[in-house]
């Protein structure tokens, strides 16, 4: 059973539908016990970093995530959920993230030509740079649906895939049992479902 963390942020309906489509059990929960004992955890997120980080902290779910991570539970962040996995973000200030993966979240506009539109919104190709069980069904140049104005930088060797938008932007990351996608796998058609399927095949202690 995959637990989708409900902390009042994100489109949980689509995530649940995606898991149903690939025949995997998933449930939405904000219960600390359920989260700590999940087979795997999905951390969603849409909106502002500071707001989401605050909600994770005050709900006590941050500690549940740390405890699950320590037990080796596979954890995947999606979109803002991925950004929360990093050390800190500079979205409207400077805010601490969960610190699972080294790196920080910066405005895309710092890295791309001025004539490109922000947010980076739409379908873009994945450039797989490192093999990983999460990408076992993913082909190089598979398309994914992105919607974001901030991106992960200085991620050292945790980057698994990038996408090109005036610069190489971080698309998929992983460090040990914690991983994340900047794009929305639940909105990326077949290629997104393949990533969710690969995630659902991961078991505690695999990574």
């Amino acid at each position: 059973m995959t637990v989708i963390i409900d902390y009042g942020v994100g489109n949980l309906f689509s995530l649940l539908s995606s898991f149903a489509a690939i025949g995997e059990k998933a449930k939405v929960s904000s219960d600390k016990n359920e989260i700590e004992n999940a087979d795997r955890i999905l951390l969603p997120g849409v909106g502002a970093f500071s707001d989401a980080a605050y909600k994770l902290e005050t709900s006590g779910l941050k500690n549940a995530l740390y405890s699950a991570a320590e037990k080796g539970v596979p954890i995947m962040g999606v979109c803002l959920g991925m950004q929360l996995l990093f050390d800190k973000s500079y979205e409207y200030g400077e805010y601490q993230g969960l610190g699972f993966i080294s790196g920080e979240i910066r405005p895309i506009s710092d890295f791309i030509p001025k004539d490109l539109k922000i947010p980076h919104i739409g379908w873009n190709k994945l450039n797989v740079i490192k093999q990983h069980p999460l990408l076992k069904y993913t082909g190089n140049n598979d398309f994914a649906y992105f919607v974001h104005s901030y991106c992960a930088v200085d991620c050292k060797n945790s980057v698994l895939a990038t996408t090109e938008y005036g610069a190489e932007l971080t698309a998929v990351v992983a460090k040990a049992n914690v991983m994340g996608c900047q794009f929305h796998p639940e909105k990326s058609g077949e290629s997104g479902l393949k990533i969710l399927k690969a995630f659902c095949e991961l078991k505690r202690g695999d990574l």
Partner: protein, 252 residues
């Protein structure tokens, strides 16, 4: 690089998909659930669901159908029609919409875009505008194109983007249903005025219309159409293959 998006639009009334020609004379097509699943699996990059029912009973049928549709659709889903308040945003987002398109609701309540963008993020708020030339001026029309608001369309769109609209749908009443190509001059005026994604709507009749659109106006991000897709006059896969052959970046 990001691809140009092809978006079928499903006008939904009483639980069925319809398409008006010049906004009148509705003709029934098919089940929205089936049509959406078909498009999602056959190359559409995104779907727009437009609720054209007026009654509250119709609203309920629409949201039920929307939930059923969203369960089978794994591409972005934009919902519009009858969006007048934050409660309306909440209602359709809970049924699986990713973005919400506002039109007349923003004209009635100019604070709607700003408050929705603040609550759900700019990426969630799409400003859809029905535009017609009046004495040579691009003018905003309300109520499905029936009522002249007297507003300058370019000023209205600029204001919407300043308030937080993350995308603009430009629907040309002058070219809608005519199937003789998109309204290039109107779209150019919008693209020159804002720096958020612009979605062209109204006038697609053949594959070349899309190619002309993206070749002439590289700043346009997406092309939206209804009947040409619903009636199979244009197959989305064929369209995208021809776009690619013409050097336009697409998802295939």
């Amino acid at each position: 690089m990001i691809t140009k998006r092809i978006i079928p639009c499903l006008d939904v009334k009483d639980g069925r998909v319809v398409k008006g020609i010049n906004f009148t004379g509705l003709k029934e097509i098919s089940s929205p659930v089936e049509l959406a699943k078909y498009y999602s699996e056959n190359g559409a990059d995104e779907l727009v669901f437009y609720d054209i029912t007026a009654s509250s009973d119709g609203r309920k049928i629409f949201t039920d159908i929307l939930c059923e549709t969203a369960k089978n659709v794994f591409i972005p889903l934009t919902v519009g029609g009858g969006i007048n308040s934050l409660d309306d945003f909440d209602r359709v987002l809970k049924c699986g919409a990713d973005k919400v398109s506002v039109n007349s609701g923003a004209l009635k309540n100019p604070d709607l875009i700003g408050s929705a963008a603040k609550l759900y993020g700019n990426q969630c708020v799409v400003l859809s505008v029905d535009i017609k030339r009046v004495n040579g001026v691009f003018t905003v029309f309300a109520k499905g194109g029936r009522e002249n608001t007297g507003l300058d369309a370019i000023e209205w769109i600029k204001r919407g983007v300043d308030d937080g609209a993350g995308e603009i749908v430009v629907n040309s009443i002058d070219t809608d249903g005519v199937k003789n190509g998109f309204d290039i001059p109107m779209l150019k005026a919008v693209c020159d005025a804002v720096n958020v994604p612009v979605i062209a709507s109204g006038g697609a009749g053949k594959v070349d219309d899309f190619i002309t659109l993206f070749k002439t106006l590289p700043k346009v991000d997406a092309g939206l159409a209804a009947s040409v897709f619903h009636f199979g006059e244009i197959k989305i896969k064929d369209l995208k293959i021809q776009m690619q052959e013409n050097g336009i970046c697409v998802r295939l």
